[in-house]
Symmetry: C2
Subunit: 159 residues, 2 copies
Amino acid sequence: RILLYIHRELKGKPEIFRTSLKKLGIGTFSRIATIQQDTPVIVALNIFLARRVSALPIVDDAGVVLDVYAKYDAIHLARERTYNNLDITVSAALKQRLKVEGIVTCLLENSLGEAISLIATNHVHRLVVVDEGNHLVGIVSLSDILSFLIRPSLSTSQC
Amino acid sequence: RILLYIHRELKGKPEIFRTSLKKLGIGTFSRIATIQQDTPVIVALNIFLARRVSALPIVDDAGVVLDVYAKYDAIHLARERTYNNLDITVSAALKQRLKVEGIVTCLLENSLGEAISLIATNHVHRLVVVDEGNHLVGIVSLSDILSFLIRPSLSTSQC
Ligand SMILES: Nc1ncnc2c1ncn2[C@@H]1O[C@H](COP(=O)(O)O)[C@@H](O)[C@H]1O
Ligand SMILES: Nc1ncnc2c1ncn2[C@@H]1O[C@H](COP(=O)(O)O)[C@@H](O)[C@H]1O
């Protein structure tokens, strides 16, 4: 259960932090699971589990991003007294201040360094990537960034 | 892409919230991925990605839980200036206040309602389940609880 790694290659390569997400290809840009404002929370929960994602962008009919609903937001609804409320819509749930993280967006042109800063300073687990018109383009999550950072460097052997 | 659900069965069943995690069988209790205090962050990152989990209990040789290292904790290390520091140990990283969530533990005897309250009030994404001697027993994550809450009630059909 001991793993050995070599990640020396990336050391002293700060230029990757100045390279755009687009160029680095970091994130998910197809088959994004989304919901709408009137989606019931119970439906969102099922999508979280079926798709194994931790958040769903809330979009309008034109694909414009309005907000994001995170798995963690649902825990407040799961309390005994409010449990019957899983039928309410995500927008109603978010209005009831049952919200933890907010939405933080970025552009494909943002650099990896900017994306990391946005995640760290806003205490969010993912960025919703939008275009100039705020249309949904993709998701860049913590997992995507961490995988990227260790991927080229990875040299694993099981002992 | 519209899903229909029936979760009426669970309604008016507050007794499940008073039932223990043990009885309800909520959580993961075997093959828990753990690390030790001297595990390098880069090794922890690889375990996150290989095991697809969001946090790793830090245990000592006797299996006593000392802390937990979450995927999100690593984002602060991934910043440009500290990036070379992925070699440092998890305990050194946690000492540098690069910590977001703390560790919150519970017992198998705690009820589902207590577990939900602990998660919601401490802003953590999972509980580390321990025994009376603080030895690692398992993990109860947000995903485990949400799956449980929608599972018995689930009646899905794709329209
Ligand atoms: N709503 C979503 N639809 C599709 N993919 C997503 C969504 N949210 C996150 N992802 C991707 O799923 C993977 C795991 O995401 P997460 O567990 O949310 O960090 C990452 O590669 C994300 O880019
Ligand atoms: N360190 C771990 N080792 C084994 N299973 C875990 C660990 N952390 C979480 N899990 C389980 O993995 C699933 C997803 O966890 P998470 O993405 O952390 O919410 C849940 O069923 C958890 O109980």
